[in-house]
């Protein structure tokens, strides 16, 4: 039996607790993802996919339940240790890319390495490799605001990979891409899977969840995993 690198155990996430606008986005969700597999979490808008991905990506803590990444109960860790675990094991591609517009491509990509104390020389060396890989070398010093949507997508992927994390999480990665860029993205994802990355993607795009490279598709509805 393969080793699960990501586990969610009966997690629940409630926002604005005790307030009139309280909402429970994820209810008693459990999942296990094995090392090196590609899993898609599908479901309609508002079904809780992004929240579950945020919980697994250590962007927020569950109200109840546990998230375990590489054997460590990250949801129980103090923020500093949770962040350290996140920096070292998880790469996150956000739905709207979440790049800093006033900064250059290079500076955006190396952001996760700054708090680790990695020297500028070492940071740039690693970033240059990724820039080459994602065909962005000619845009190295360009401001994010001057890039096309596809280029921004690739910068976001490069940033997620800069820390050599084995787990890659992507939130609706094709939501803002045309069919050509979607196809390119799928190529990158397949390459990453082949290089041993564990990948979890949220999407309601059939091009993603019907792709033959996908090992498992989980469906969410009303905050719960239904299949």
């Amino acid at each position: 039996m393969a080793n699960p690198v990501v586990q969610a155990v009966n997690v629940t996430k409630t926002y604005n607790r005790g307030k009139p606008n309280e909402v429970t986005a994820v209810k008693h969700a459990s999942l296990k993802i094995d090392e090196g597999s590609l899993v898609v979490l599908k479901g309609p808008s508002g079904s809780g996919k992004t929240t579950l991905l945020s919980l697994i990506g250590c962007q927020t803590k569950p109200t109840r339940g546990e998230v375990i990444i590489r054997g460590k109960k990250v949801s129980k860790l103090p923020e500093k240790f949770m962040n350290q675990h996140k920096r070292r094991h998880i790469g996150f591609i956000f739905q709207h890319f979440q790049l800093i517009a006033g900064m250059s491509v290079l500076d955006n990509i190396v952001l996760p390495l700054i708090p680790e104390g990695v020297s500028p020389k070492a940071r740039n060396k690693r970033a240059d490799r990724l820039l080459e890989q994602f065909n962005l070398a000619h845009r190295r010093q360009f401001k994010i605001s001057s890039l096309s949507g596809g280029e921004q997508q690739r910068v976001a992927i490069a940033r997620a990979l800069i820390n050599n994390a084995g787990i890659l999480l992507a939130d609706e990665p094709t939501a803002h891409l045309d069919s050509k860029l979607t196809s390119d993205l799928l190529d990158y994802i397949e390459q990453l899977k082949q290089s041993g990355h564990t990948i979890l993607i949220t999407s309601h795009d059939p091009v993603i969840y019907q792709n033959p490279a996908v090992d498992r598709v989980l469906e969410m509805k009303d905050g719960q995993i239904t299949s």
């Binding site: 962007q59 927020t60 979440q98 708090p115 104390g117 994390a165």
Partner: protein, 409 residues
């Protein structure tokens, strides 16, 4: 994942802070300019206050322990010599010296000057030799002092000398009043080079006999008396005795004069700062508004940095460095500008407020004097509040889940 040293991490944080300041350069330049102006204004007032107080304090060290004046009908009157033996007999009094001095209006210069009478022969060998600059006077030398008319010689402050030179009277000056039959000529034998220019600049030291003529002071009468008391503990007590024995005499101790100097400039400083209060307050509100309110863009940036794994303490370090760099640079620039303005440019605009009678007062140089405590105070009141207003909102944003900030939940 490669992790670097603590030092490398701090270097990265400072680099990021500098980049962040440069990215928002228009906002930060505005804050920088306002900040520099604020620090400059407050520092200038403090510098000029300290310098003037310092100058007065230097002067006051040479003051007599007790100055005795005679008051008649509520105004100062001449002191007859008959008081001297009675005051000398008071136990604890070492010496009583008489003084001849007064003010003289020089119509040709439209200025009021202080005239002080003393025995100029003392200048030849005594301690006063050092404070006179003989070389400032053309064609005069130490050897020629005794060759001039003994009762009609004078030494003038540098400011007086410069004014007299402008009217070609740098060698000799004719004192004249319309009520006199003829003018009284005085030879100028030197200028003061004392560091206490605030006191000496408008001063003319005349041979006592000549001073009596100019001030129209009768023989055996003096302007006031200087009483010297070796034991500082006894000064107040002796001053009290003089007032009790001679109710018409007023005493002023050295400590009282020092307090007056200190409070006069302290009061003026407070007055100027109060006048600037509205402007300072407006500037502070502007800085607060610009510095404390995180824009949606800045909040989003903090959310992104947290989302990619930055810790709250790293984010706060970034904001702390940003604040330190901005407020530190502003404070230093403001202080340096104030120093140049006060001590190099002689505080135009502000000097007149502090000196008061500038229209008839000759120019003088302010003694460069910056008290480290004042500098520390300026830095504390500028840097610390700025750090508070910048770091606190950043901390509030940084403790929020990145998920909430990014998704705007």
């Amino acid at each position: 994942m490669i992790s670097g040293s603590w030092f490398e991490r701090q270097k990265n944080i400072i680099d990021y802070s500098l980049q962040s300041l440069l990215r928002r350069r228009s906002k930060n330049i505005l804050i920088l300019i306002i900040f520099i102006l604020l620090v400059f204004a407050v520092s200038s007032v403090l510098f000029i206050t300290e310098s003037l107080t310092q100058e007065m304090m230097i002067t006051s060290n040479d003051l007599p322990d007790i100055t005795v004046q005679r008051i008649v009908g509520g105004r100062q009157a001449n002191v007859p010599a008959s008081y001297i033996p009675d005051i000398e007999e008071i136990p604890g009094v070492e010496a009583v010296e008489t003084r001849v001095w007064g003010y003289f209006y020089l119509a040709s210069l439209q200025a009021n000057f202080t005239i002080y009478g003393m025995d100029l022969n003392l200048l030849e060998e005594g301690e006063y030799q050092k404070i006179v600059n003989w070389k400032n006077v053309p064609d005069e030398s130490e050897n020629q002092i005794l060759s001039t008319r003994p009762d009609f010689r004078m030494i003038v402050g540098q400011g007086v000398f410069e004014l007299l030179r402008d009217i070609q009277m740098e060698k000799a000056y004719l004192f004249y009043q319309p009520t006199w039959e003829k003018p009284i000529p005085f030879d100028i034998i030197g200028t003061f080079k004392t560091e206490t220019e605030l006191q000496s600049n408008d001063m003319m030291i005349l041979q006592t006999e000549g001073a009596r003529r100019v001030l129209e002071l009768p023989p055996d009468e003096f302007t006031d008396m200087a009483v010297y008391v070796p034991n500082p503990e006894e000064i107040d007590n002796i001053a009290l005795k003089i007032r009790r024995y001679f109710p018409e005499l007023r005493t002023i101790t050295k400590a009282q004069i020092k307090n007056t100097y200190s409070s006069v400039f302290g009061w003026k400083s407070a007055f100027v700062l109060s006048s600037m209060l509205a402007a300072i307050f407006a500037f502070l509100i502007l800085i607060w508004d610009k510095a404390s309110g995180l824009s949606p863009e800045e909040k989003r940036e903090i959310g992104i940095l947290k989302a990619v794994g930055w810790d709250t303490d790293v984010l706060l370090s970034v904001k702390l460095w940003e604040g330190l760099i901005l407020s530190g640079v502003s404070s230093l620039a403001g202080i340096l500008l104030a120093y140049t303005y006060t001590f190099q440019l002689r505080a135009p605009g502000l000097r007149e407020i502090f000196i008061g009678w500038s229209a008839i007062y000759p120019s003088f140089q302010l003694i460069p004097d910056a008290d480290p405590k004042s500098l520390l105070l300026i830095i504390t009141i500028s840097v610390v509040p700025y750090l508070a207003v910048t770091v606190f909102p950043a901390w509030k944003a940084a403790i929020t889940d990145p998920d909430v900030v990014i998704r705007n939940i």
